[in-house]
């Protein structure tokens, strides 16, 4: 009888041990996660030269407010902590360290700008904290072998450049290309993509390359030079203010090339309207998100959801700006990743789930564009569709293309 008692006790003890350990195994937390909240860190330029992009950070904050109002992610509220890095690398390093070491966030999400992200990349990877869905299209963020904790989100600039190159080789192989580009990482990345896409023909097709600095008041001089070079195709790699200036000046001096505009500046409200809708007619670009001004999408459920979100949670936001659509969509992506984590909210699992997104579609992504990641593919969005401006909206042309094989 004693032995049976011992045996029962042992079994009960084992069952208890197994039960508690499996219960414990169900919830795993790294700093920043708990039963009630998930701390998400972020750095955005709310001041300084890039402050126009602060709109993205504000949209994301508003979206998380909505998610929290609707019960949070798996019952946990998102605590979104966002600091200003003024687009300055030393400040970015300081704010990143503050987020990781002082605020103890689970991950840093959508940090903006190539300089800021380059500055913190080594630190984030050394500390093993996810640097997730960075807000820049620089190609170097998709390198899981060397930087397993860093991942981008939007299609890379080089991929977009290659798409334009493929288009030209097909539709206008004799084009004489003039390039206006911002003299930094972002501009040079696009130019590289274009040159790579043109391959051997790059040297003969590109007749003029005009850089500009963000400290230049206008790009008028560069436009004059481009026209004088005899270019009949204009690859316009500029940020919104300068894109508007370039479009306006080209019209003023009577230069009407085939105009390829990088998608950073394709916002109708933010660029084309100030530049003049008539002047912008015929401009080609690409995109991967729905244009809120496009009437074809305004009956979509996805659009209606976004509009309801903007009206309720971010009424001050600019509904004609693509920044708000961008912020909304990338926030949705993070919420999906966190949902997939379930109760295992370790940093390692966050990266694992981020690298396991299969054919994700969100309301404001263009139809046919899906988010895909894997252990070797750290580029969530790789597809884009070309579009032409009709004078009041973007008209999609051609198929959804992938930047990598140009198909």
């Amino acid at each position: 009888m004693k032995r049976q008692g011992l045996y029962l006790a042992a079994v009960a003890g084992l069952a208890l041990a197994l039960g508690t350990s499996s219960a414990l195994a169900q919830k795993k937390y790294d700093p920043g996660a708990s039963d009630t909240e998930i701390k998400v860190g972020n750095m955005n330029p709310y001041s300084g030269p890039a402050s126009a992009y602060g709109m993205i950070g504000k949209t994301i904050a508003a979206y998380f407010k909505k998610v929290n109002a609707e019960g949070g992610v798996n019952g946990r509220k998102i605590n979104f902590i966002s600091y200003d890095d003024a687009y300055s690398p030393p400040k970015a390093v300081e704010q990143a360290r503050k987020l990781v070491e002082s605020d103890e966030v689970l991950l840093i999400f959508q940090s903006l700008g190539t300089p800021s992200n380059t500055a913190i990349q080594k630190y984030m990877n050394a500390k093993k904290v996810p640097q997730l869905f960075v807000a820049t299209g620089a190609t170097k963020w998709g390198d899981p072998q060397h930087f397993p904790w860093t991942m981008g989100w939007q299609p890379s600039y080089q991929a977009e450049g290659r798409i334009y190159a493929k288009y030209l080789l097909k539709e206008k192989p004799g084009a004489k290309i003039g390039i206006l580009y911002q003299n930094d990482d972002y501009g040079k990345d696009y130019v590289k993509g274009m040159k790579d896409g043109l391959g051997a023909k790059a040297a003969s097709m590109i007749v003029s390359e005009q850089p500009y600095e963000t400290s230049d008041p206008t790009v008028d001089s560069q436009i004059v030079n481009l026209k004088a070079s005899g270019a009949d195709t204009f690859f316009n790699v500029t940020t919104p203010k300068f894109a508007a200036q370039a479009i306006k000046k080209s019209a003023e001096i009577g230069w009407k090339p085939l105009h390829l505009l990088n998608n950073v500046s394709q916002s109708i409200g933010g660029v084309l309207k100030p530049a003049g809708l008539e002047n912008s007619k015929g401009i080609l670009s690409t995109y991967y998100l729905k244009d809120p001004n496009d009437p074809t999408f305004q009956k979509d459920d996805g659009y209606k959801e976004w509009l309801a979100f903007m009206d309720k949670y971010f009424p001050d936001g600019d509904k004609s700006s693509s920044f708000t659509v961008y912020g909304y969509s990338v926030a949705q992506t993070l919420v999906q990743v966190l949902k997939q984590c379930g109760d295992n909210l370790t940093r390692e699992n966050v990266m694992k789930q981020a690298a396991s997104l299969k054919d994700l579609e969100f309301g404001m992504l263009l139809p046919g564009i899906k988010i895909n990641t894997s252990a070797t593919d750290f580029y969530p969005i790789e597809q884009m569709q070309m579009q032409r401006f009709t004078g009041d909206r973007w008209e999609l042309i051609g198929p959804v293309m992938s930047g990598n094989d140009g198909s």
Binding site: S47, P49, S51, A52, G54, M55, N183, Q210, P211, E213, S215, D216, P217, T218, D220, S221, Q222, V224, N225, A228, P240, K241, A244, Q245, E252, I253, G254, G269, G270, V271, K273, P274, A275, D318, S321
Partner: protein, 291 residues
């Protein structure tokens, strides 16, 4: 040759912007013997105020004139409220207050009107003139600059208040002894500088698009133009501004390899060179101190 002509005229167009800014800078320098780093931000803020009036439905010229008046008053108020209590502080502290003003105006503008660019109308239209060499707006802007220049010249040379202001800036103690209210002269100088700045902003915004950060680089070039021309000479400032625009464009176009990347550097290097050869600027008065 055609390119050269185009670049020269494009340079004159942007130079016109710098010249207008340089005028405002020289104006404030005449009044307070120091450069106001917040001048550009004051101009930008004034332009936003006029934009807001236009949004509320005011006709262009009404908004234009009202903004000038509001800016003038604003300038006077800033001087009386912010700077008068600091009279006794060392000069460098004043510079920090300019910087503070810069930060406040820039941040407030971003907060009130956000950072996306806005288009601002021009009363002169944008039709190309002389076969596309300049636009009608550029021509109109140049005319406005020359008008302001003329008005300033008449003001300083032929009116009693202008004379009083020059006296107050040159020798405040003696001016006080003659009965000139030096404090109010300085405030007047601020008001006029703010008004000129407002005009500059409203002329510049149609070209570069209105946004809180629009004036920063223009202020820099305006400084350069004012210094090259001589901080004591409004005419010099205007010529300096135009020169800086043309030189920058030509350097960017014709100096091979680095010209395009180092446009600003080349312009600034030229400024420094001019200063080392002729420290008080091309048209400035040389001040001789007697021992």
């Amino acid at each position: 040759m055609d390119l050269f002509l185009h670049q020269v005229f494009a340079g004159l167009s942007t130079g016109g912007i710098y010249a207008l800014m340089a005028l405002a800078i020289v104006m404030i320098y005449q009044a307070i013997d120091h450069l106001n780093f917040a001048q550009g931000e004051m101009a930008m803020f004034s332009t936003f105020v006029s934009w807001q009036m236009l949004q509320w439905g005011a006709p262009y010229w009404a908004a234009f004139l009202l903004t000038i008046v509001v800016s003038f008053i604003g300038g006077v108020v800033i001087e009386r409220v912010v700077f008068k209590p600091l009279k006794a502080a060392p000069v460098l502290s004043h510079v920090v207050v300019f910087i503070a003003l810069f930060a406040i105006l820039n941040s407030a503008a971003g907060f009130l009107w956000d950072y996306t660019i806005k288009s601002y109308p021009t009363p002169f239209g944008t039709t190309p003139l002389f076969g596309g060499l300049i636009s009608s707006h550029d021509a109109g802007m140049t005319v406005v600059t020359l008008v302001i220049l003329l008005l300033l010249y008449v003001f300083f040379r032929y009116t009693r208040i202008g004379l009083a202001m020059r006296a107050a800036a040159a020798n405040p103690e003696s001016a006080r002894l003659v009965g000139i209210r030096v404090g109010w002269m300085i405030a007047l100088g601020w008001g006029m500088a703010a008004a000129i700045g407002a005009v500059a902003g409203m002329m510049i915004a149609p070209v570069v698009f209105l946004e809180p950060n629009m004036m920063l680089s223009i202020l820099l070039y305006g400084f350069a133009g004012a210094v090259v021309g001589g901080l004591t000479s409004p005419l010099g400032a205007v010529i300096g501004g135009f020169s800086v625009g043309v030189i920058e464009n030509l350097a960017g176009t014709y100096i091979p390899y680095v010209g395009r990347e180092l446009k600003l550097t080349i312009a600034l290097a030229l400024i420094v060179a001019v200063l080392t050869i002729k420290p008080s600027g091309l048209f400035g008065r040389v001040v001789v101190t007697r021992v």
